[in-house]
Amino acid sequence: MIGEKVISAEKLTKRFGDFTAVDHITFDVVKGEIFGFLGANGAGKTTAMRMLCGLSLPTLGSAMVAGFDVYRQNELIKKNIGYMSQKFSLYEDLTIRENIRFYAGIYGLTDDKIKEKSNLLINRLNLAGQEKSLVRSLPLGWRQKLAFLIAIVHDPAIVFLDEPTGGVDPITRREFWELIYDASSKGITVFVTTHYMDEAEYCHRVSIMVDGRIDALDSPANLMKEYASSSMDGVFLQLARKALRMSD
């Protein structure tokens, strides 16, 4: 794939004491791409993602995200990315509209823009009429969709999604991926970790992490060819079984 690089990591490494969570990973992600970041539990996906988001300071290596350096310009990166963590991260004791308003507000959107975005978002999720109910009362699938749209409410260059569909039913997962495609078609680069191999097949390219390293990186079709497997499941199993590290 040829295009403008929005993420480029070079030998990016994170050590916690003796433990090397992320071990010299090198890769690029181009604009508008949906980049799948796969790996077993404990392979180092979340740590790698946190370094790219400016939440964790790398030990070694370099990385540029949205044109900014992860060491020195981490606060500038934060202006230009969206992030949805593994843990549910909306305020449960605020309403849908209040959550949208808060997150849009702290990213500096104007009042008019906040109003416009809120209405758009609520309509997109068919939540009209429910916008005054507390987020706590929403079913998990709805919350995740809402959290995603809130993560991109400020039109970031890149959105990082850490297992966004964990525990979500298949229908809602499909709807979630429709939202992802929507975002991608608007030029937002999507960086997503997942354990669902069907979802991996929706990605333009995937990387597979084993013991903190990236052991494979290509489009799903090429990977299946290379590993002589009919599904991403097969590819993943062949690679992940080589892991020496205990999964949690």
Partner: protein
């Protein structure tokens, strides 16, 4: 600074959406201020008295009458031997035993002097000490009465005596409540403020929402201010409710200005809330932060001069009280309420508290890290 507006809006919404807010704002101050001052009264009354009267004379009865009618003692036990009376102390029936020897009256009349024995249960040292002191006073008085009756007053007294006249300034009725209520109010505001602040950031850590904040461009100072300001307003509201209760129920109207109290409280709260937020940035769970803040407020309250005068603490404890923001507020509160002190009188305390506020909040901002 626009982000701050949204942080404040969010925080206030969350605070007022919590159903316990009504309890914290109104019920807690009412209970604390209406119950505690009545219980925390250091005047000792109802001291249970046991009497062993070997004399059975007019004078001995007069003395006992005088003691009982003073209002501080309750005659609980009349024994015929001292050991029997001691048994009463052992059983906790009495606090103090008064033994009047045989021939008390006779000696008094003939030899011009007589002795009586007072034995006190000193498990509660304060009660024993005060009880003995009261009884001494009453016996001294009795002495005077006897002298007046028996000795013809000479034209001029050969023995010079010095009489002490008391004049109690600032709290002329020696009303304990006027002294305690302002102090308890300080304790209340401190407890509410620090527990709110120390729990809050940890709660965001537990919920996972802090991660979402950390990945946003919010500045650290904005985030801490966004937490500080709402609790500051809340604690000032509690103070207002408390001052209102003090006025309605105890008739306590500060001699100084309410404005002085509010100016000082505003600075004081910045310090206390800063400390709470600081603890919050260190703690990983709400349990941890609750325990730590409970411990700190307990030490602060005991070393604040609320219950015991700072002047009588050991030197090292006195130094600690100077590092304790609570002691300053209690001091100031009493100065303003009872002495009518103004801003100029408390400038030293204001400066000290400003120092604490800058120190704790600065430390909290430094310790709150958006990146690990």
């Amino acid at each position: 600074m626009r982000a701050l507006k949204f942080l404040l809006q969010k925080e206030l919404r969350q605070i007022f959406r919590d159903p316990s807010i009504f309890f914290i704002l109104f019920i807690m101050p009412m209970i604390q201020l209406m119950v505690l001052p009545l219980a925390a009264d250091y005047e000792i009354k109802n001291i249970n008295l046991g009497v062993v009267n070997h004399d059975h004379s007019g004078y001995s009865r007069k003395l006992i009458n005088k003691i009982v009618s003073s209002g501080y003692f309750r005659l609980k036990d009349y024994s015929s031997t001292f050991s029997q009376a001691l048994r009463g102390i052992e059983l906790d029936k009495t606090d103090l035993v008064l033994e009047i020897p045989a021939q008390f009256e006779r000696k008094l009349v003939k030899e011009n002097e007589s002795t009586i024995l007072v034995a006190a249960n000193a498990i509660n040292g304060v009660k024993a000490g005060l009880g003995s002191a009261y009884i001494q006073g009453i016996i001294g008085d009795f002495n005077q009465d006897v002298r007046m009756q028996w000795i013809q007053a000479p034209r001029f007294n050969p023995q010079p005596t010095i009489d002490v006249e008391y004049s109690d300034w600032y709290n002329p009725d020696m009303n304990y409540r006027d002294f305690m209520v302002p102090g308890i109010l300080v304790m209340l505001v401190t407890m509410i403020g620090s527990s709110f602040a120390s729990n809050n950031i940890v709660r965001e850590k537990e919920m996972g929402t802090i991660e979402q904040i950390n990945v946003s461009p919010i500045k650290k100072t904005q985030f801490i201010l966004g937490k500080l300001i709402p609790f500051w307003m809340l604690a000032l509201a509690v103070l207002t409710v408390g001052l209102f209760i003090a006025r309605i129920f105890y008739g306590i109207v500060p001699l100084g200005h309410y404005l002085t109290i509010y100016v000082f409280a505003s600075i004081y709260l910045l310090a206390i809330l800063g400390l709470g937020l600081l603890m919050s940035t260190y703690a990983q769970t709400q349990q941890q932060s609750m325990l730590v803040s409970f411990f700190v407020t307990m030490v602060f309250n005991l070393l604040s001069g609320l219950y015991t005068p700072i002047e009588s603490m050991p030197q090292w404890a006195q130094i600690i009280t100077r590092l304790n923001p609570v002691s300053y507020f209690i001091e100031v509160m009493r100065m303003v309420v009872l002495k009518g002190s103004g801003l100029a009188d408390i400038k030293y305390q204001i400066l000290a508290l400003l120092g604490f506020a800058v120190f704790f909040n600065g430390w909290a901002i430094v310790n709150y890290k958006k990146r690990s």
